[in-house]
Symmetry: C5
Subunit: 97 residues, 5 copies
Amino acid sequence: MIIARVIGSAVSTVKAGKLSARKLLVVQRATVQNELLDDSPIVAVDAVGAGEGELVLVALGSAGRQTDLTGEAPADATIVGILDSLEVDGRDTFHKS
Amino acid sequence: MIIARVIGSAVSTVKAGKLSARKLLVVQRATVQNELLDDSPIVAVDAVGAGEGELVLVALGSAGRQTDLTGEAPADATIVGILDSLEVDGRDTFHKS
Amino acid sequence: MIIARVIGSAVSTVKAGKLSARKLLVVQRATVQNELLDDSPIVAVDAVGAGEGELVLVALGSAGRQTDLTGEAPADATIVGILDSLEVDGRDTFHKS
Amino acid sequence: MIIARVIGSAVSTVKAGKLSARKLLVVQRATVQNELLDDSPIVAVDAVGAGEGELVLVALGSAGRQTDLTGEAPADATIVGILDSLEVDGRDTFHKS
Amino acid sequence: MIIARVIGSAVSTVKAGKLSARKLLVVQRATVQNELLDDSPIVAVDAVGAGEGELVLVALGSAGRQTDLTGEAPADATIVGILDSLEVDGRDTFHKS
């Protein structure tokens, strides 16, 4: 899963299939220190009740449909975890405040 | 899903399998401010009745087949939502006119 | 689907599973004006009877198996349409000659 | 599968579906000489009991769900092997110490 | 499928699921002239009995599981063909020696 920060939200009234009624969040890839990368933001379905500013795990591809909220939905990006902390090389690089 | 703008359309008479009779649109990735990115355009199946110039959500990969129009079609890119608005860092970055 | 030009063909006698007896073409990504991009060529299964020099639509990933010729074949790239024309921003950018 | 080094771990209490109770490791792509590449780290589910510092094989996409621990989990990256050694052009480029 | 050259092999005793007992080869993407590209090598399951130095076709993603040897294995890259020859723009660019 990629590490990403929730930076906003999207509104789309006309949606296909089981994407209806799903919360759509704008996420941008981030480092293990919670710094935004240059990657262009994408829109992900929120399957865990994430909030703006939170560092999350985003599952891409068919993995994004393996949640109760996204099964059979045309979702190729789903927030599947809220990060509490990250540790790299024995040091805490991120801790949810 | 990637954020993309519908910039044109494609005509293909000879198509494989269940791609027949589907509307094919040319889309190009865009920023949350609806500015086109440098990515080369791709062709996506329209599952929501999108029009040229609209900012849309494109589902890539197997997610693109999770709509009534694309089930079992050899489509790896499908327009699955028309964007009404995008909000990033508490500011409206896009509003459908 | 990516827009690509058929630039050649591949011969492979030893092939796995249902890839046997399939026509393999070398394709390179192209712009909407039918100019080749710098992307390295890939090999795609031909599901529509495409010929060298034609501009085609290539479905990547599992979408590539959604044709009569490629079902259950280990194909991650399949030519699923021959382009007749492309129109971008109200102008014809490509017309099959 | 990509070659990657386990560089850390992730803690996420709120996780979707069958991702719960899975060990999440931070991995970064590496060369055949076990040198880290510039690619941003990703988070992978550990299906083989890998430890920090080990060079591993990470399966991306739906392949990541083809293990006993990840079936039906929203995991798009899974550690599916611990590398003992790599040999390129007749020379050992990596040997697990 | 990408065009790649077999440049080595990998040994991994601890492997997940049906990856056990599969031959793992190190492959690097190549041009139609059999020149190595800068892409970092990946590890692919050999489904066709390929040897070091051979130019092969590698299927990525779920396509990699569509062979007798890789069904249900956590393999996202499988060698599915040995290239005999490639022809581009009417010229032979590669011929197996």
